[in-house]
Symmetry: none
Subunit: 149 residues, 2 copies
DNA sequence: AGGAAAGTGGGGAAATGTGGGGTGAATTGG
DNA sequence: CCAATTCACCCCACATTTCCCCACTTTCCT
């Protein structure tokens, strides 16, 4: 099971490629290191799952969705935006155009490791997202680190 | 389960490395001695968790967050600042740049062992922190040690 | 006192992040 | 249906950072 963490800003080159931060790559099962599934995230970002984590997610979805109208809609939306991507020999990810547009990614990508997946943000959008939240880091962390236990 | 205690001041070398005080190292499960997770603490300091303690914390995070919008924010905030770090053969920790900047650590680090984790402070900031507190140690201690019983 | 461990410093090899060229496949438009 | 352009993917290049190892001094322990 992966456990992505940390954050970093990387450049997108003229061809739309970005390196996956190596500290995140190291958290992936070796067999799954070459293939990612990139999909549209919640909020204005992309989610990248290494293949093994994606399979886990897909299995969850298969088992938990009934055939309600709502579920069908969710699955369609999710799958519509999901693309399987191979890393090149330098472990770079070619971001599919439609997803790049959706996340408004231009020259730079802000990566965040979020446990089972990696998020890709446009740095500006991420700043805005943070600014839109009133909670401070302290408040959030007290809850989990300081709080109970 | 670790139980860190005590404090010490150490130098950061030109490459950003500090030794982990050996008395604290001794409190770590042998399997977890090589890897730490460093993250942003409350107040202007860093927290370093040996891998086993971190896993405990991470499990809490995974289980206590649903996929609500607020939870996503929590997890992002926390994970954004968490970095996994390997100690070198001399048991030194390479402090990630972003965290070093955040904690304003320059030449020296003040270590405090705090039960399940180790805190890293800039010595100056720690002094300021103490000064900013009006409660004396006696007052606080009465609360916890003297209190009931 | 002697040996071991702890704390500090630094050199050099390997890995990382970034750039670009070239070749074939796929897409588009005439 | 073919030609022109774009696109995806292979390879090579190179500066910088990271990591691994060796070395020296001081402190601690028996």
């Amino acid at each position: 099971m992966s456990s992505f963490k940390g954050s970093d800003t990387y450049t997108v080159d003229a061809k739309g490629r970005v390196s996956i931060p190596s500290k995140m790559r190291k958290n992936i099962e070796p067999e799954a290191r070459q293939t990612f599934v990139v999909t549209r995230g919640l909020e204005k970002c992309l989610h990248a799952y290494p293949l093994d984590e994606w399979k886990r997610l897909e299995a969850d979805i298969r088992s938990s969705t009934q055939s309600s109208e709502k579920d069908r809609f969710f699955v369609r939306m999710l799958m519509q935006w999901s693309e399987e991507v191979q890393l090149d020999s330098q472990f770079r990810l070619l971001i599919p155009r439609s997803l790049m547009d959706f996340a408004q990614i231009k020259k730079e990508v802000f990566f965040i490791g979020v446990l089972d997946h990696i998020e890709l943000w446009d740095p500006g959008n991420f700043k805005q997202y943070l600014a839109s939240k009133k909670d401070t880091y302290e408040k959030v962390a007290e809850h989990l680190i300081g709080g109970q236990r």
